[in-house]
């Protein structure tokens, strides 16, 4: 039971890392639907780097680095070139999915390194995730930087007139989002599930994306959602703990995906929107052209 809860929290921390990056990204008005692709890249390249060098630190750094590069690429496409953000995000996802399947294949199998240490059975990354939640909340709501990020995401033309460099702020945010996603992927591939397999991320990037919509761009709610989905994911893998003999394992594995859809429906209803919907960054997904 304890192991089950710990495992759930560890899944939650990965959703949290990826989601926080995307949250900052979206607060600045950039939608990145290619989260899954960046996470796949971070997980795969981080895995290969750690496996070949035998050094975890290099693995994580590679994960963060490739995430930053892909974030930059998304920024270049969507901010500088003015490409539709969904097209660019989809491109990064398919690019990540296709390339990592090819690159990772020769490394299929376990990482073969000693497991990373834990504190009282919980990964230190979990505490890092908690810290990041508070830090992102603090920066976004209590500091001048956060105000700048939010104003760029709400009214970019007004922000520009009041002296903010919209493109620069957005670039920094997408790079941060990419780094967080790459790191989340690396934690997945090096700690949570250190056995490389084709498409082993199983849609976690898309679930994280859904969690950002669910969170109404509030880091605390994002974390709550992440814990909920961590629990759900573990339940779907170990249904016999609570419901022995009920339904096939394949049916159970559908549960987190079905829940994601239900959560999205819930937050999209008029009832919900009329109470909380105002939180959506106004300029989200709209390309901005400096006049």
């Amino acid at each position: 039971m304890i192991a089950f809860l710990i495992r759930s929290l560890e899944a939650a921390m990965i959703f949290t890392f990826a989601g926080l990056g995307e949250l900052v990204d979206q607060r600045s008005g950039i939608l990145n639907v290619g989260l899954e692709g960046i996470m796949l890249f971070g997980a795969t390249l981080g895995f290969i780097a750690a496996k070949t060098t035998g050094n975890y630190l290099i693995g994580f750094l590679v994960g963060i680095g490739i995430g930053a590069l892909l974030g930059l690429l998304h920024g270049f496409f969507s901010i500088t070139l003015g490409v539709d953000q969904v097209v660019s995000g989809m491109g990064i996802w398919i690019f990540g999915f296709g390339m990592t399947t090819y690159i990772g294949n020769p490394h299929t199998g376990p990482l073969g390194l000693e497991r990373l240490p834990t504190w009282f059975g919980i990964s230190p990354f979990f505490f890092l995730a908690l810290f990041m939640v508070v830090a992102v909340w603090f920066v976004l709501t209590k500091t001048g930087w956060g105000l700048n990020i939010r104003s760029v995401g709400e009214q970019p033309s007004v922000a520009e007139v009041s002296g903010l460099k919209v493109a620069r702020i957005r670039y920094l945010c997408v790079i941060f989002g990419g780094m967080m996603a790459g790191f989340a992927g690396a934690v997945y591939g090096l700690y949570y599930n250190p056995v490389w397999n084709y498409n082993f991320l199983m849609g976690w990037g898309f679930i994280s994306l859904a969690l950002v919509f669910f969170s109404m761009w509030n880091p605390y709610l994002l974390f709550g959602g992440a814990v909920l989905f961590g629990l759900l994911w573990q339940l779907s893998l170990n249904p016999q703990m609570f419901f022995p003999g009920l339904a096939s394992r394949y049916i159970w594995r559908m549960v987190p995906f079905a829940m994601t859809i239900l959560v999205l429906i819930f937050i999209s209803t008029n009832w919900f929107r009329s109470r909380w919907g105002a939180a959506t960054p106004e300029a989200l997904g709209k390309p901005y052209h400096k006049e």
């Binding site: 003015g82 690019f95 990540g96 294949n105």
Partner: protein
């Protein structure tokens, strides 16, 4: 921006003539193939040799050509499944889930008729009609969920269709593995084989689904060029707000395009698992075909949603993925070369999106005139 006395400006295009769009699409593919050849260089192979191998096998080898055509049919359906919602500005990335469900439904018909254990007593045309209808309905159902949710509550269709893919993926496993109803008695984790009467007949070596590809091409072309519904879909895709003022109901549009898209993806599933010679079962590696259907998204985007152009692209991609697999074996390239190709083509396509929307204007910098006029060169 000014470089050496020349002024470089970006102009936003208001319209793009057809031949230019085609040119950019071709350039995007060529650039993607150039990027792809980096992989061969990295693997120590000459790109020229590899491409010779790929195209030679895919289009100039009798056996390879048959495989390419079969894959072309599959990709054509997958592209149609993407195109129709795309013209309405909606993203259907649920082709895998829709085609899994289509395949399950087609096999379900055979299962209900007792085809798991013996041959069918029903006449073949009737069996085939029922299978195709079941695949269409099941795919449409799967697509319809996303369309309904989008239309009713504006639920993000990208996440929904992706989640449905994973749900359908597990549903197929449930049906064909671990003693599921469709499991092969051999217990190899794949479905039962279709009896003779349920296999698609060949017309001159090719499954009859090839004819459907061309009929549907005409149908989709007419839908967008001639029919009021197609016009509404396009108007909605260009500007949902303006379309609403024109009396177009968003709910109806998003449900209809996803029903149609899903049905066509279901047909793709029917084709690969029930009509390709030598398959006739849902293989253990069925996820591969789900992944392949994303090529449909790329060909739909590259052809800008044009059903005729998309066929050419689908033919090329079908051949490339078949030839790539063959080159992978012959030249000892890494596994998953067709996945890498997909990634390279996609990223190249995104980069070329820029040219669809902007043009670069390079002019010699001149001394400002007394009456500066705004130049809006929109040619």
């Amino acid at each position: 921006m000014t470089v050496a006395g020349y002024q470089i400006r970006l102009l936003r295009r208001t319209s793009l003539p057809g031949w230019k769009a085609a040119l950019f699409s071709i350039l995007a593919i060529v650039f993607g193939l150039l990027l792809f050849s980096l992989i061969f260089i990295q693997a120590g192979q000459s790109p020229r040799e590899v491409y010779k191998q790929i195209f030679g096998y895919a289009f100039f080898n009798a056996y390879g050509l048959r495989l390419s055509i079969n894959r072309f049919i599959f990709l054509a359906f997958a592209s149609y499944a993407f195109i129709i919602p795309y013209r309405a500005g909606l993203w259907n990335i649920g082709m895998p889930g829709q085609l899994y469900l289509g395949a399950l439904a087609a096999f379900g018909v055979v299962y209900l008729l007792g085809g798991k254990t013996g041959d069918l007593s029903m006449p073949q045309p009737l069996v085939l009609t029922l299978m195709v209808l079941a695949a269409l309905v099941a795919g449409a159902f799967m697509g319809g969920i996303a369309g309904f949710l989008k239309g009713k509550w504006n639920v993000n269709e990208i996440v929904v269709t992706m989640m449905l893919n994973f749900i359908a993926f597990n549903l197929v496993s449930f049906m064909i593995k671990d003693g599921g109803p469709f499991m092969n008695v051999g217990g190899r984790g794949e479905s039962f084989e279709l009896p003779e009467a349920a296999r698609a007949p060949l017309l001159a070596d090719f499954p009859y689904t090839l004819v459907l590809v061309f009929l549907l091409m005409i149908g989709i072309y007419l839908l967008f060029a001639r029919m009021s519904l197609g016009y509404q879909v396009r108007a909605f895709g260009k500007s949902p707000a303006a379309a609403r003022y024109a009396g177009i109901r968003p709910f109806r549009i998003s449900v209809l395009v996803f029903l149609m898209g899903g049905a066509l993806a279901g047909l793709a599933g029917y084709h690969y698992f029930a009509a390709v010679p030598g398959v006739y079962k849902i293989a253990r590696t069925y996820a591969y075909f789900g992944d392949l259907s994303f090529y449909g998204m790329i060909s739909g985007l590259i052809s800008l949603g044009n059903p005729i152009a998309t066929l050419l692209v689908a033919l090329l991609f079908g051949g490339l993925s078949i030839g790539g697999r063959s080159a992978q074996g012959k030249l000892h390239l890494g596994f998953g070369i067709d996945y890498a190709l997909m990634g390279m083509l996609m990223i190249s396509l995104v980069a070329f999106q820029f040219f669809y929307h902007y043009q670069i204007l390079i002019t010699k910098k001149t001394v400002p005139q007394s009456h500066p006029t705004m130049t809006e060169d929109l040619s």
